[in-house]
Symmetry: C2
Subunit: 294 residues, 2 copies
Amino acid sequence: MTYPNGLSAFPITPANDDGSIDLGALRQLLSPLLEARVDSIGLLGSTGTYMYLSRAERRRAIEVAADMSGPVPIIAGIGALRTDDAVRLAQDARAAGATAGLLAPVSYTPLTDDEVFEHFSTVRRERGLPLCIYDNPSTTHFEFMSDIVGRLSRIEGVVAVKSPAPDPAQIASHHSELAASVRGGFSLGYSGDWNSAEGLIAGAMTWYSVLGGLFPHTCLSMVRAAQRNETGEARRLNAALEPIWSLFKEFSSLRVVYTIAELNRAVHAKPPRPIQPLAPPARAKVEAALAGLR
Amino acid sequence: MTYPNGLSAFPITPANDDGSIDLGALRQLLSPLLEARVDSIGLLGSTGTYMYLSRAERRRAIEVAADMSGPVPIIAGIGALRTDDAVRLAQDARAAGATAGLLAPVSYTPLTDDEVFEHFSTVRRERGLPLCIYDNPSTTHFEFMSDIVGRLSRIEGVVAVKSPAPDPAQIASHHSELAASVRGGFSLGYSGDWNSAEGLIAGAMTWYSVLGGLFPHTCLSMVRAAQRNETGEARRLNAALEPIWSLFKEFSSLRVVYTIAELNRAVHAKPPRPIQPLAPPARAKVEAALAGLR
């Protein structure tokens, strides 16, 4: 099975100041994604603040999502600084009902390729949870070259990679280099919402989308257009979102989606401190961009 | 009081595979530092793997060190991703007997200057522990410009900064720019062992030293020479350590000092996974460098 594919929608994980998850608000965010029939839920991604949540809270979030997700797969963030902690998080995720684990090589001390390879092998060896490689150098500070993705793709049960989408001019060559490195049937996909449309057009199977966690219909339309090779339509839909992409680039997608969740879904969560909510001038820009989309 | 000053010696924190600290081995590393009368102990620094140890284990390490340190101040790493966790670690450190807290702006989501300022203010406001700013962009991925160090130095109880030593050619201007930004009496110091001698010569008050955690006499000699303005002698002592600095740069100081601790102090600890001990060829280089120093 090749998987995941299509739109993987990444909601925020609304939590209280003390780091306990607001499960009601989480359900409120998940419901419209499931109703829209996104291809998977990306729970506890970076904008899902997995690294700021305790093991117990992460498990609670997965249980709630698995309980309501029906046939929609749940890909859950299981990254941790320590290998033994990542193993425990993989065990928890599986027991709580996740379909796959999203594993980033989270680092404090910079890691070598061999250390990352061993980290992934150990997490995969100890438990039956399929793994998606989470490549996100802006948070993990590890750069995946295509050769290590190729090596990891040959570990049984490592099924996919979520790569940061490079600039549109580089994306076709990035995609074909990765495709040539990995085993057949391995799923390639992109995050970094503003460049992901071109990733799909270049042949990537999955868009791991932050905005998809709030605007599932819009994002699904773009994915379906790309899947039907309607590249003009996919680009048109993407271009319409440019005001949002511009805010993501200026203030970070995480800070912006917290504001969108408040404005569009009445979810009044704040990101975990030290991360701060957007200041009023930035909020005003988000409101204006949302108004412009309507 | 201006503080810290001189040699702040940073030992590793020997721990078992499960993350529990080997307190006997920790004592074994601390004893020679206290006998040599280093100017302070830097406990739970980056090579002390603070980010890989639980709150309870970090507290145990501080208790053991405080119990044996007598008049030697203990500066203990209290960094955490979440502000509330850093507050709790500061409370623990103070209760366990630390003299000051070493606070790094640990990040997963990249942080803004205002977020870092508020993080430090909150940790300092909630407890009486004096704070040393821990500037280490290679692990925290936050770049301290001199203006934010200046702002932080004006928070009552923020007493020092540990900056990564720039190349010798830049160090005098780096030091004078920082000195012009901070309040009077604020302690400036450097880490990054290979460039720190020039930092002391440029006027920095403290060398936060990884090698000082294993070679206290050698490192104290260099500090004392710099304090007496014997720059030739300080540079000569530093040059003699070049084989070690070269290994630190090639394999990281953390991985190298674990091997030195084993070879010179019979402390058989391994770094926390995913970080791996040095492979045999690198170990052989460390052995050769140590033999050359004798």
